[in-house]
């Protein structure tokens, strides 16, 4: 196959990877502060996409049709709503279960996921069917042999990377980030030095979920279609990416996201057997990777004091 095709694969892979990474970062943030997994996170992405969609239709009703403006409003709406949702989830579903076994958080968030899914399916007009997502970005395309580079996809790729980068900045450079990392390191000590633990948790969930909401928009604008049931698989993949990368590490999550995308791409094109095996392939590799690096590729600092 020629360079153009390879470039095409690479670009598709990157695009997929950035979406996965955005989801995975959420998982890794939540795990960092609270050592829990929010299994409904994938459906938060889906909900974000639908909020964005509804906002767009609302704008249309108001007669506002400037794409450039609309896309920003839509993204903000999704991000903001999901941020609130995230804080709500943390406050009423996750924190109350801190004392209980970690698994109960798992069960509750799983159920949360299916509740979100059913809500959209039942109460979004004709929600059981795939919904068209507006093409809000300039669709200009450059053809280089077999490689079609589309402007909108490029914008999305950049947006995704930038958002992740910003979140990373917040966590690494700001006082808030300092608090988050402190809690992640050792919540007890953090409390002692007067960090408002609950607030930090809420904010972290807000940030992670906002990221998911924006991921939902990126997803919608890239595929121009959203369906109520995209959440479960996205969640599983995001979780896998976060774990393979190393829970608690943002870079790990990013690495994991792109890695998983790469695996799926390779699985569906380079496999001698039917492309239907691509998930079999991807997850088999995941098992091997975990066996090879039991605490993720970018391992979290082992703090076992004996």
């Amino acid at each position: 196959m020629d360079a153009g095709v390879l470039a095409q694969y690479a670009f598709n892979g990157l695009m997929l990877g950035v979406i996965y990474a955005m989801v995975a970062v959420g998982f890794t943030l939540f795990f960092g502060v609270l050592d829990v997994i929010q299994f409904g996170h994938g459906d938060v992405v889906m909900a974000g996409a639908f909020v964005g969609l509804a906002t767009y239709l609302g704008l249309g009703a108001l007669g506002i049709a400037v794409p450039a403006f609309a896309v920003i409003v839509v993204a903000c709406a999704a991000g903001f709503t999901m941020a609130l949702a995230g804080a709500f989830i943390a406050r009423y579903l996750v924190l109350p279960l801190r004392t209980a076994p970690a698994f109960n958080t798992l069960l509750v968030t799983l159920m949360l996921g299916s509740v979100l899914r059913e809500l959209v399916r039942l109460f979004y007009p004709n929600g059981s069917n795939p919904q068209p997502f507006p093409r809000l970005l300039p669709a200009a395309a450059i053809n280089l042999g077999n490689f079609t580079l589309r402007l909108d996809s490029t914008i999305l790729l950049v947006t995704g990377l930038v958002t992740i980068f910003v979140v990373n900045l917040i966590v690494r450079r700001t006082r808030l980030g300092l608090a988050i990392r402190a809690v992640a390191q050792d919540s007890e000590t953090a409390r002692v030095v007067g960090i408002d633990f609950e607030r930090v948790v809420l904010v972290t969930f807000a940030i992670g979920s906002a990221l998911a909401g924006i991921a939902g928009i990126v997803y919608g604008l890239y595929y121009n279609e959203v369906n109520f049931d995209i959440g479960l698989l996205l969640g599983v993949i995001g979780f896998s990416a976060a774990v393979v990368g190393g829970l608690g590490s943002i870079y790990g999550a990013i690495l994991g996201g792109f890695l998983f995308a790469a695996l799926q791409t390779i699985g569906s094109v380079a496999l001698p057997v039917s492309s239907a095996y691509n998930n079999v392939f991807a997850f088999a590799i995941v098992i091997m990777l975990i066996t090879w690096k039991p605490t993720g590729l970018i391992a979290e600092p082992a703090s076992e004091r004996v």
Partner: protein, 389 residues
């Protein structure tokens, strides 16, 4: 906790009241059952079918001349075989239920045939297309109004080869539905001299097909054939467009739905697909069906198989009207079904209970509508499909 549960109960009772059947005069009320996927990924088609069957019952109960009033129990099989067996048992064991309009998902339909046979409950399958459901057994209880994937793909292959296309790439989901279509289309297409460049299976919940499609782009076939349902159909078509693939796109009955067009907008133009049955709009009954459906203000569209659920429910009710609410009699009566007029054309059950004269209708999307091929601008040559000379 208690307070919540009480609340739950009250709202539950609310629902119950909401869906309680309309009391129909002093007539004897007969129970029949509808089973289909009402939750999960295939809910859209399931709800369309449920509404259509419900419409049939409503209309029948509205008819003053009718001997019986019908009350339809609606059950959700979640498109899962084991749940299917559970609800099938529930319906079969309930002697007040005389017959059933059952199953959209093939895996569920095939899983439940034994159960219906065990309980002697006559059922008419309204959506599942797997041939083995009727031909894999000789249970008198099992009937099917919609055609199998065999007829559909035979017609499909004939038409598209006649349009002068030479090379194909097949993409199908790995469920029984997609795999079945893959098998039969491959068979008939090769008979008719088409060349298959590649055959891809994709997961039913897969989101991203750019990798596969990039390969397709490289192969550059005349036609991309898709065996699967609307959600993936939509994703495939729009991602083809993204990658600038110019090939003609054709699908199976699974994508003949309003939501396919609604979700894709202009790029759905020119998509070809086939359903087994006469073009509803054409038959007088069909128009009536669509009008009534609209009039009853159902939340969801009937989708591709709604009409079959409607027909199945009517067949059952007609049979019961004739021989009374008795399972054995109904089975005997259904076996006699021959050229029974319906909104999908005359229905005749062969010795396997399979409707043998399913007219296969080719559709093409023209100006954001599914138009019957023969009277489309494409057939008339006013417009050209992708890559047509």
């Amino acid at each position: 906790m208690q307070r919540f549960l009480l609340a739950a109960c009250t709202c539950v009772l609310g629902f119950a009241a909401a869906i309680a059947p309309v009391a129909a005069g002093a007539k004897e009320t007969v129970k029949i059952v509808f089973i289909g996927p009402l939750t999960g990924g295939n809910a859209a088609l399931g709800l369309g079918g449920r509404n259509s069957a419900d419409l049939a019952v409503q209309l029948h109960n509205g008819d003053a001349k009718a001997k019986y009033a019908f009350d339809m129990v609606k059950l959700d099989d979640q498109c899962k075989p084991d749940i299917g067996v559970q609800v099938a048992t529930k319906a079969g064991a309930d002697n007040s239920i005389v017959a059933g309009v059952t199953h959209y998902c093939s895996a569920v339909a095939i899983a439940t045939v034994d159960t219906y046979h065990k309980f002697g409950l006559p059922v008419i399958v309204w959506g599942a297309v797997l041939p083995a459901i009727t031909y894999g057994n000789d249970y008198p209880e099992i009937h099917r109004v919609n055609g199998t994937m065999i007829n559909q793909n035979e017609q499909n292959a004939k038409l598209v080869t006649s349009l002068g296309y030479k090379t194909w790439v097949i993409i199908h989901d790995t469920t029984d539905y997609g795999k079945g279509h893959d098998e039969y289309f491959t068979k008939f297409l090769t008979q008719d001299g088409g060349k298959i460049l590649a055959d891809f299976g994709v997961g039913a919940d897969q989101q991203d097909f750019t990798a596969i499609l990039t390969k397709v782009k490289e192969l550059n076939p005349d036609v991309v054939y898709f065996g699967g349902l609307t959600p993936i159909g939509v994703r495939l078509r729009s991602q083809m467009d993204k990658l600038g693939i110019k090939s003609q796109f054709e699908g199976t009955s699974g994508i003949v739905s309003d939501s396919y067009i609604q979700a894709l907008g202009p790029i759905s133009e020119g998509t070809i697909a086939f359903i087994d049955g006469a073009p509803i709009e054409k038959l007088p009954g069909g128009r009536m069906f669509l009008e009534q459906y609209a009039a009853h203000k159902y939340a969801e569209p009937p989708e591709a198989y709604g009409a079959y659920a409607f027909v199945a429910a009517n067949l059952i009710m007609d049979a019961i009207e004739k021989v009374g609410p008795d399972r054995k009699a109904v089975i005997a009566e259904l076996a006699k079904t021959k050229n029974h007029p319906s909104i999908v054309g005359p229905v005749t059950f062969d010795d396997h209970g399979q409707n043998v004269v399913p007219i296969v209708t080719a559709y093409v999307v023209q100006d954001a509508k599914w138009v019957v091929w023969q009277d489309s601008d494409y057939a008339k040559g006013k417009r050209k499909l992708a890559g047509q000379k």
